[in-house]
Amino acid sequence: MNSIHDMGGMHGLGPVVAEHSDHVFHEYWQGRVFALRMACSFHRKWNADMGRYARERMPAANFLTASYYERALYTLETLLVENGLVTSAELSSGNSTGKAEVSGVLQPSAVAAIVRSRRKSRIDEEIAPHFNVGDRVMTLNEHPIGHTRLPRYARGRQGVIDRDHGVFVFADSNAMTRDRKPQHLYGVRIAATELWGDNASPRDSVYLDLWDDHLKPV
């Protein structure tokens, strides 16, 4: 969807302010939100792509004024209600009306293994690639109302297949219907001048990871 989360190329968002601290949570509640998200994902009621789509649906004006962990909190609340783990009445009152139907909870002893084994999106299936390394491709100029990993700034642009990453779950469909739609994922190189015009450096480029369904031959 063409909302505010898709920020690549925007102006007006200020300078990048460096921060040389290794401190990851600046407030206690930020760590709790991060951990709540991981502990709730354990129930497998949603996948990472559904999580991203939930965040993207935060109303744009609210999104811009929220911090990273406020956005994460909104996302978690949305997922909990949409996937039936909590009702919106429980969320607003804070009072449970009964235990959720789940088979267990993430245990402290299981955290270390989860940290090393997050996400498996590569699929071991023999599927023919539509493109080969070195092929010239055109990204689709499509504007789906649902989730997509093809950013606006890179739509309708010519690029070159830099590498074939293998077969992966297709995030765009996995987010909407859990349809994994396995297909090849490629590193696609697009020249900076193709994306941003002649004022961009002719040496520079942006590499994006895009799926067969995002590309057509040139």
Partner: protein
Amino acid sequence: MSDHHHEDDHDHHHNSPLSGTALRVKALESLLVDKGLIDSKTLDEIVDTYEYRVGPRNGAQIVARAWVDPAYKMRLLANATAAIAEFGFIERWAEDMVAIENTPTIRNMVVCTLCSCYPWPVLGLPPAWYKSDAYRARSVIDPRGVLKELGDDVPESVEVRVWDSTAELRYLVLPERPSGTEGWTEEQLAAIVTRDSMIGVARIELPNVTS
């Protein structure tokens, strides 16, 4: 929706009353415990893991190994997931990693314009600036300007490659080994590898160069 919009990752309000957001999080945690969905001790464990156990020191060990061991470097650049699995930070079948090498003529920098994807197992959680709207928006359109703001002026003769993490692949930049480190041990080298150099926004400078 939050009614507390003035807080960001840079704020430090010690000893102040709980903000609206902090109260909302506390209420949510308590509700989820009551619903039988989480164990608060697990939350402590997750926070502790990402605060103290997983971080850029993991990535620094990988970089140092690649600097001293040409065969390891080849494995890392050819199949980063498997090469990183040798250290045990990540399972061989888990999150897919790609390592990209800086050279005197090529600079790589990593961003996620659509969210804030970042290689957690090797770098820990990202710094606030990496997740900032400004970095996400500008890295792709003005990488040289962003690098300059972060203190790194890249000559026009050097090619800049920006990697937008749009899929479940995570990027680790293999920074250039600074001159003056010939003969250093892997441990000494790991100690000078910075988080920002592995995101690709900084070169590695030697501390207290005397020669």
